[in-house]
């Protein structure tokens, strides 16, 4: 590209990039590309929901508003929307409303940033019982995605809950289930349907069931500390099976920073526990679900788990899990599977030749190697790993990959949004534009403020009704 042309950035010499998804990895990558090369790209965002921000909106817990502060940064996109550098196509699902073929025909590059759409499943006899719920659904329930409004219809008479898995989502769910509704939830952006059910909840005990050991815990110390400090709200930490790790921890001696802090925290709160909390939670390591016991009325009575123990392997000097041969039953009216989120391939991947394995698109630094001008970022590129820190770094790197890809050129035969808008218009498909979203959200804020909340999330149908 010569210099004169670079300065005269008309529509025809911009690299046209289509981005699928509008969560944090999408926004961070787009903003970084435009920060480095403000005049070389025209970017269109395709989001299947009317509303943007993905898991920041429907994943982050309502009592963590500070984590959602990144939305302030994402809103910087407004400036680029005004100048036409970026266009938001909300309510447009790829492989349904538009085909991948439509995108490849009209754009110079495609960035896959669509993240997770499901939770991992754990299968055991009885795991399809209606009172075994996936954390993905549960999180969407309390976070106001109205498609998941009926995941929990009542928590009356539900006293004991088991959560399988030990990540931050499991900890979020414990806070939701046991936290004081008035103190912790009433003034957040939690969904009103969840709030009403939590007000009448009878949940008293949460057992966390963890297949592996203490040193493999996935939750972070921040989330753990926050939960332990809820003792002041009457939420008691009822301990962990420390004795099962005594030998291992003694033989390992000095631990890494994170594990040392974790164990110190757990011990501190276990020893200081006053035992008076009327609600409590417990960590049960070395337990995997193998079945359920059902009451005569069909509801779950107990979760059955098999017990493992830590055994030192002399040959490789490693600590391994061995079956103990024991089975325990844990009183459970409801079971929640919180074993991570999962990404899935798009329908047309096979046809197009994009390889999807182990929960991610096969890629090298965000470049999808076998298909030209194709990139991926965020959870769909790394099997749903990491938090906002990882996503920021990942997005910076993928932005570099896209900027530096010599194959990505401004092929002038690509019509970009001009052609896409015609396709959607011919289908009479309703597009939610960025201005529409801003209007929707201002209504959410007005409605929420009446309830003493920052905003009340509208259902997708309600949003679409607001759009002309």
């Amino acid at each position: 590209m010569n210099i004169t042309r670079r300065f005269l950035s008309t529509n025809s010499n911009l690299k046209k990039l289509a981005v699928i998804g509008s969560g944090p990895s999408s926004f961070y990558t787009i903003l970084q590309i435009l920060k480095k090369q403000p005049n070389n790209f025209q970017i269109d965002i395709f989001e299947k929901n009317p509303s943007p921000f993905g898991l920041v909106r429907y994943g982050v817990a309502p009592d963590h508003p500070e984590v959602k502060n990144c939305i302030d940064k994402f809103n910087e996109i407004s400036e680029f929307i005004k100048t036409g550098k970026v266009k938001y196509f909300g309510n447009v699902e790829i492989c349904k409303d538009l085909s991948l073929n439509d995108l490849y025909k009209n754009y110079n590059g495609i960035l896959y940033a669509y993240g997770s759409s499901n939770g991992n499943k754990v299968e055991f006899p009885g795991s399809l019982h209606q009172n075994i719920i996936n954390s993905f659904d549960f999180v969407n329930w309390y976070n106001g995605n109205h498609n998941y409004k009926n995941v929990i219809k009542s928590l009356k008479g539900i006293k004991d809950i088991s959560i399988i898995g030990a990540g931050n989502v499991a900890i979020d769910i414990i806070r939701i289930l046991l936290g004081d509704v008035n103190k912790r939830w009433k003034s957040t952006d939690i969904s009103n349907h969840a709030l009403n059910i939590l007000k009448e909840s009878d949940v008293k005990n949460v057992n966390v069931i963890i297949r592996r050991g203490i040193l493999d815990s996935k939750f972070t110390n921040k989330e753990l500390r926050e939960l332990l400090e809820m003792r002041d709200e009457g939420v008691e930490f009822k301990g962990w099976n420390k004795e099962d790790f005594d030998e291992q921890l003694k033989s390992l001696g000095k631990l890494d920073r994170v594990n040392k802090r974790r164990i110190d925290l757990l011990n501190k709160y276990k020893e200081n526990g006053n035992g008076n909390g009327n609600k409590g939670w417990k960590l049960n390591y070395l337990r995997s679900p193998i079945g359920i016991m059902v009451k005569p009325d069909g509801n779950i009575k107990e979760l059955l788990v098999k017990v493992s123990k830590m055994v030192h392997n002399e040959e490789n000097d490693k600590w391994e899990y061995k079956s103990d041969g024991k089975i325990e039953s844990i009183p459970s009216d409801l079971v929640i599977l919180a074993t991570g989120y999962k990404c899935e391939p798009l329908n047309e991947f096979k046809e197009i030749g994009i390889l999807f394995e182990n929960g991610k698109i096969i890629n090298n630094n965000g470049k999808i190697e076998n298909i030209k001008n194709s990139y991926c970022v965020g959870w769909v590129s790394n099997n749903s790993q990491g938090n906002i820190n990882n996503t920021v770094n990942d997005s910076m790197n993928v932005a570099e990959t896209i900027i530096n890809d010599e194959d990505l050129i401004n092929d002038e035969n690509k019509e970009g949004r001009k052609e896409i808008e015609i396709i959607l218009k011919n289908k009479k498909h309703k597009i939610v534009k960025w201005e529409d979203w801003e209007k929707i959200h201002s209504i959410e804020i007005d409605q929420g403020n009446k309830d003493g909340k920052p905003y009340n999330k509208l259902s997708f149908n309600e949003m679409l009704e607001l759009v002309k």
């Binding site: 963590h64 500070e66 984590v67 502060n69 990144c70 302030d72 940064k73 972070t220 110390n221 921040k222 500390r225 000095k254 890494d256 920073r257 994170v258 040392k260 802090r261 630094n365 965000g366 790394n382 790993q385 990491g386 938090n387 906002i388 820190n389 990882n390 920021v392 770094n393 990942d394 910076m396 790197n397 993928v398």
Partner: protein, 156 residues
């Protein structure tokens, strides 16, 4: 408190520190943005950032400003995803050992977040939690260099 030392990070800091001493540099004029205060004449404090590219950038700042705000006001690559509320570690900095002990110790919240920082070193801090004071005049901090491969390895 014991911390895992990422050797790569520390070594690059040392190299940067060396080149800092050899190189001559000018103090950049500062543009004041957002909530940064303008230092009173004669009370300017100095901070030098070592960028990911290895460049040195020195600024005159006022007492009470935190390092995240200073970096962002001067358009350095520091994200601050949570807006400086100590809820992420995207403003991770590596402090010159000479100055590290002059900063008040990190609290539990900051330590929880440092747990998640990539390439944690013995002298890592969060930029949003380090506030400029007279004792810190002349402080040098490096922005950690990250590659995607490093990150993936770190995550597993």
């Amino acid at each position: 408190m014991f911390r895992t030392i990422a050797k790569v990070g520390t070594r690059s800091l040392q190299r940067n520190t060396l080149s800092f001493q050899q190189r001559t540099f000018g103090v950049s004029p500062i543009t004041f943005h957002g909530h940064l205060k303008k230092p009173n004449p004669g009370e300017e404090l100095h901070i030098t950032f070592i960028t990911k590219e290895g460049d040195q950038k020195t600024f005159e700042v006022a007492e009470g400003d935190n390092i995240l705000d200073i970096a962002q006001a001067n358009h350095l690559d520091m994200e601050g995803a949570c807006g400086g509320s100590c809820a992420c570690s995207t403003c991770h900095i590596i402090v010159d050992p000479e100055y590290y002990d002059k900063i008040p110790e990190p609290d539990d919240d900051e330590n929880d977040m440092l747990d998640l920082a990539f390439g944690l070193t013995e002298t890592s801090r969060l930029g949003c939690q380090v506030v400029m004071s007279k004792e810190l005049d002349g402080i040098r901090v490096a922005l950690p260099v990250l590659t995607r491969n490093f990150m993936n390895k770190d995550m597993n």
